[in-house]
Amino acid sequence: MTMQPASTEIASRTAAIIQELKGLEGPLLPILHGIQEEFGYVPQDALPVIAEALNISRAEVHGVVTFYHDYRSQPAGRHVLKLCQAEACQSMGSDAIAAKLKSLLGIGFHETTRDGSVTLEPVYCLGLCACSPSAMLDGEVIGRLDDEKLNEIVAEVRS
């Protein structure tokens, strides 16, 4: 029931974010966003600090963080590529696209290339069903994926 002390640096940067946001109603999600922005991911060491500050349990913070896939437990690559794997895209061949992309990048879902250039993630619907199969690169959506577009994407993230 004892915790390893959070590394002091993460703890102090986390504390500053909490201090700024804890007055909000329902401050947990904004704090987590702030932390992800600060560190590029949500460090595990930040969670007990949040729990202590908001007077909730570590379990509760963990439950919330893991519920949202967008909160990362590791830093992402320089680019983040999200490939839609939901029903409409699947019907338009997103499985094959995924396989091809994985082989081009040499990584699987939830992995980052060794050079840190790109992280590949599945996503469940970008609201672009009419342009399936679709993807999102660094926040920009891309529709009607085909081999050519894949090559362009790979070239861009590798550059």
Partner: protein, 970 residues
């Protein structure tokens, strides 16, 4: 007797699925053609159960609020579309509900089929017990097929080479978590109904569990995906009790199978007095299941009561009587007859040689009321003196004195349920989350509903701030300043006009109030002066006083941090003054409530265990009271009070006290100033220890009589709310006799004509002679479950709340509370103040809990010290430190924490090798001799290992525990 409980079957309590509604308005509806009337707001599920129609369910249970996630409890309602969940749909007047139809059957089967498909290879009776609620529901809905397979991975295709884990598309296997010594968590069997998570939150209030991830990845997680034992989990077991599958299951049940029969009984740990079903297979307890009908605990428990019963069958238990000439000799096992004859002869010899008052007895707060009554009867009738005392001497004797003086009764004023109506809790010198965990959970629940908390404690205990609860005020006062602090609170209440004049004029003596008010209003009692003395912010004192006086129903709960001081009785009086001044007494939600430490410390006090009192707190000098017993027992009783425990020890050292019968108390470890206790015991000629184990006191004993556990006897315990609970025999006494039988045999050897055949007859004698117990009988307790004394003609089913309409003593009495600092002062040699306490997983001297797997959580006593004080002394966390006081020294390891203020150190006394009481002094309460455990001036320094005393003690203990081989004895 107990006919209803002699049936060898499993006591099954009905699960109504959702909690009862408190509404007054009644609603009538029809369920499957049966008409049923229930309070408005009741769920259809509960109403159906009350009509005798059980609706299948998985995520609902009546200990928890409805959740509506499992979709198995669906029903049809005439005039409404769809199939609403019966757990979340409230009843309506004239509603017509159908719980069975082809459509419902098909939906339920479909839902169960999906669950089973997601229950990897576990559905089937191999993985779990085959007797879980889940298994039963699968059978109930007639599930016969599973078209989805059982590998649990068919919903989303798994890609080769993709690492499982966070964000994986598949449900990946997570190994069982066996880290908790008492239960297993097997994620593969989990259906994510959240019952465990909700039990941890709603019932226990720890919030240690969550559902991590989402969708098919959703799992129950302890802490941040930690092993249970490393997480925030306090192992209360509420989650295990709530789990409808075998995902969370007691290891004993998995290893030994489902229990076959059960007996409703009462826990033998703390003063909460939880009711349990002791569930047994063959002659072995498989699990202790909290009893929902138990009025103290309402189906909840803590790690001690639910899991730590293994001591009852521990190999260290001594099952044969033993005697020896000298304490340096090894023990010699003898027959019961020889042991008892020897004891009787020795007691008679000593009395002949040294006089009638040279022997005495100590009753146990661990034993039943009936057993305690017999020990004091043995002393008074058999020894013909009043040299009887009890361990309450060292804990709550000031409560008896203080509340007796002010209110007229020596007990708490409320029942535990009263907390549900409390608005402000004033908690003084008590650490309920560790020492009274089940009641602490109810306090925390009430706080989450909005009640406020004020804590007076030198330490920042868990309840001051933990998930979802936080005290409005924590006054971390310096140990030993209780009286000054409480008087300062009174000062604010009086000088700011926050007292309840109407109440005081009606219920108390107005002149006495005015005298008291003029005293507390003196400038030296102001928060500004006291704050300086006690090291507390005066504004906090004022804020706390205002909140208690004007925050609605104010209830005071206190513990040993109040009583175990040189001014313990004064503090209790100060507490009573506060309650009277603010009118917080005599109705639900208010009151003054000591949290009693031991299962039957209230009962042992009630039963006449004190040297000056006969049962029911009637003074021994009263001719009329003595006459009752003299005519019944046929002897003349001594009208002078006898010796208290410390007086017995002093007399022993002086050579006038030579023989002692100690039932179920380890005075050497639990009483203060160990060296003095040891000297007293060593000076006696016949020390008889009647206990489960060769405890520390037994190192100085000449006779050892094996004791019986609470599982091995019938009787009653009285908890902190004056509730008399039944203790029922679950198994035969391993040593042959229940403790009451042993005492009776000893009495018979001493020539007394005792012929009790069952403890119920002892209770009948208690009822016959004690007005406040006049209505109590085992028949009544079997019928109504439990009663709170006074139970007599005026209140035939007991008294949940006392002093309604007026105080027992007539007018409530205000008494001045002059603060007199203890003689125990800090100074250059001993600059720190030591205070002592308890921890959740261990109990008292640890004789029981140290013999269970609870040592996983607390394997040694540690010294809590503030980082500043540690740094000054060059101490690091975990270092061995030497703790020295004017009385003695010991060594233990340091735990550096900000829970204690600078200048204060803290430790527990659960482990005999630490010997915390070597350090404590022989200062004691002025009125009752209750020792001052909570304040000792000490010094702390680095150390390399055990002190000389610890080494000598160890050696002596080892020598003293030798038991001779039978051949060698002759």
């Amino acid at each position: 007797m107990n006919a209803a409980f002699d049936i060898k079957s499993l006591v099954q309590e009905i699960d109504y699925g959702t909690p009862a509604s408190e509404a007054e308005q009644q609603v009538t509806l029809t369920v499957d053609g049966k008409s049923v009337t229930v309070p408005a707001g009741t769920s259809i599920m509960r109403a159906s159960m009350e009509a005798g129609v059980e609706i299948p369910k998985l995520c609902a249970t009546d200990m928890l609020d409805s959740f509506g996630s499992c979709r198995v409890c669906l029903v049809e309602i005439d005039g409404r579309g769809g199939t609403p969940a019966s757990c979340t749909t409230p009843v309506g007047d004239g509603m017509v509900v159908h719980t069975q139809s082809d459509r419902l059957d098909a939906i339920r089967r479909g839902v169960m089929e999906l669950y089973v498909s997601d229950h990897p290879a576990a559905w089937g009776e191999k993985a779990g017990t085959g007797a879980s609620e889940f298994d039963k529901v699968a059978r109930t809905v007639g599930l016969t097929e599973n078209r989805y397979g059982v590998d649990g991975r068919n919903h989303v295709k798994q890609e080769n080479g993709v690492a499982p884990g966070h964000g994986s598309l598949t449900i990946d296997y997570i190994a069982r978590d066996e880290s908790n010594p008492y239960f297993t968590y097997d994620p593969a069997q989990c259906i994510v109904c959240s019952r465990c998570v909700r039990a941890c939150e709603e019932v226990q209030g720890t919030f240690a569990l969550t559902i991590e991830g989402r969708g098919f990845e959703s799992r129950v997680s302890a802490g941040m995906h930690e092993a249970f034992v490393d997480s925030e989990c306090v192992s209360c077991g509420a989650c295990v009790q709530a789990c409808p599958t075998d995902a969370l299951r007691e290891k004993t049940v998995l290893a030994k199978g489902v229990p076959e029969r059960s007996t409703v009984t009462t826990c033998a740990y703390c003063g909460v007095g939880c009711s349990f079903k002791a569930e047994v297979k063959g002659d072995e307890v498989i699990r202790m299941m909290p009893y929902k009908a138990g009025k103290a605990n309402h189906g909840h428990s803590c790690v001690k009561g639910r899991f730590a019963y293994g001591y009852a069958t521990h190999k260290d238990r001594i099952l044969k009587p033993m005697i020896r000439e000298r304490v340096s000799d090894p023990w010699r096992e003898v027959s019961w007859e020889e042991a008892l004859t020897h004891t009787a002869n020795e007691f008679r010899r000593i009395q002949y040689q040294y006089g009638r008052t040279s022997i005495g007895g100590i009753t146990s707060s661990r034993c039943t009321n009936e057993e305690t009554y017999l020990v004091q009867k043995l002393v008074r009738q058999g020894f013909r003196n009043n040299n009887v005392d009890t361990c309450a001497r060292v804990c709550h004797s000031p409560t008896g004195y203080g509340l007796g003086q002010t209110f007229g009764t020596s007990a708490g004023t409320q029942d535990f349920d009263s907390i549900e109506q409390t608005d402000v809790i004033l908690l003084i010198g008590a650490n309920p989350t560790d020492a009274h965990p089940v009641f602490a959970s109810r306090m925390k629940k009430r706080m989450r509903q909005g009640a406020k908390l004020i804590v007076l404690d030198p330490r920042r205990t868990d309840i001051v701030r933990s998930a979802h609860v936080e005290a409005q005020f924590h006054l971390p006062l310096k140990p030993g300043t209780n009286v000054a602090m409480l008087t300062a609170l009174a000062h604010v209440i009086v000088t700011e006009g926050l007292f309840d004049e109407a109440f005081i004029r009606e219920r108390c003596d107005w002149d006495e109030f005015q005298d008291w008010a003029s005293f507390v209003a003196l400038p030296e009692n102001s928060p500004e002066v006291v704050g300086q003395l006690a090291n507390v912010d005066p504004d906090d004192i004022r804020g706390a006083a205002r909140l208690y006086a004007r925050g609605g129903n104010g209830a005071i709960y206190y513990g040993l941090g109040v009583t175990e001081h040189s001014q313990g009785s004064t503090t209790v009086i100060a507490i009573a003054n506060l309650a009277m001044a603010t009118g917080n007494i005599g109705r639900p939600g208010v009151g003054v409530n000591p949290l009693r430490g031991q299962n039957n410390v209230q009962g042992s006090c009630d039963m006449g265990s004190f040297p000056h009192e006969l049962p029911g707190y009637r003074h021994i000098s009263g001719d009329a009271v003595r006459a009752i017993y003299e005519s019944l027992w046929g002897v003349k009783l001594d009208d002078e009070p006898g010796l208290r425990i410390p007086n017995m020890l002093d007399a022993a050292v002086d050579g006038s006290f030579k023989g002692l019968y100690v039932q179920g108390e380890d005075i050497l470890q639990s009483d203060p100033d160990t060296k003095h206790v040891a000297a007293g015991l060593a000076a006696m000629e016949c020390v008889v220890v009647h206990d489960l184990f060769l405890n520390e006191t037994a190192n100085y004993a000449h006779v050892f009589l094996p004791g019986s556990t609470f599982l091995e006897k019938d009787g009653t315990f009285t908890n902190a709310e004056r509730r008399i609970n039944m203790v029922r025999k679950v198994m035969e006494p391993k040593c042959g006799y229940a403790d009451w039988e042993t005492t009776q045999k000893l009495a018979q050897e001493l020539g007394l004509d005792w012929n009790y055949t069952h403890p119920s007859e002892i209770m009948d004698e208690i009822a016959k002679t004690t007005p406040s117990f006049a209505g109590v009988s085992f028949d009544l307790l079997d019928r109504v479950g439990s009663v709170q004394w006074p139970c007599n003609e005026k209140s035939p089913e007991g008294t949940p709340i006392m002093h309604i309409g007026g105080f027992v003593r007539g007018k409530g009495k205000f008494i001045r509370t002059e603060y007199v600092a203890t003689d125990e002062r800090t100074g250059p040699r001993f600059p720190l103040l030591l205070t002592t306490g308890r921890i959740l997983s261990q109990y008292n001297v640890g004789a029981q809990t140290r013999r269970t797997d609870n040592v996983v959580w607390h394997s040694e006593d540690r010294l809590e010290i503030h980082p500043h004080d540690a740094e000054n002394r060059g101490l690091r966390d975990g270092d061995w430190v030497r703790l020295t006081s004017r009385s003695g020294e010991t060594t233990l390891r340091a735990l550096i924490t900000e829970r204690v203020s600078p200048g204060v150190v803290y430790t527990t006394f659960h482990h005999p090798d630490t010997q915390a009481n070597v350090i404590t002094t022989d200062f004691s309460d002025w009125a009752t001799n209750c020792p001052e455990y909570k304040v000792t001036a000490v010094q702390v320094g680095a150390s390399n290992g055990p002190s000389e005393w610890q080494r000598d003690y160890d050696e002596q203990a080892k020598q003293s525990r030798r038991i001779a081989k039978l051949e060698a004895a002759e």
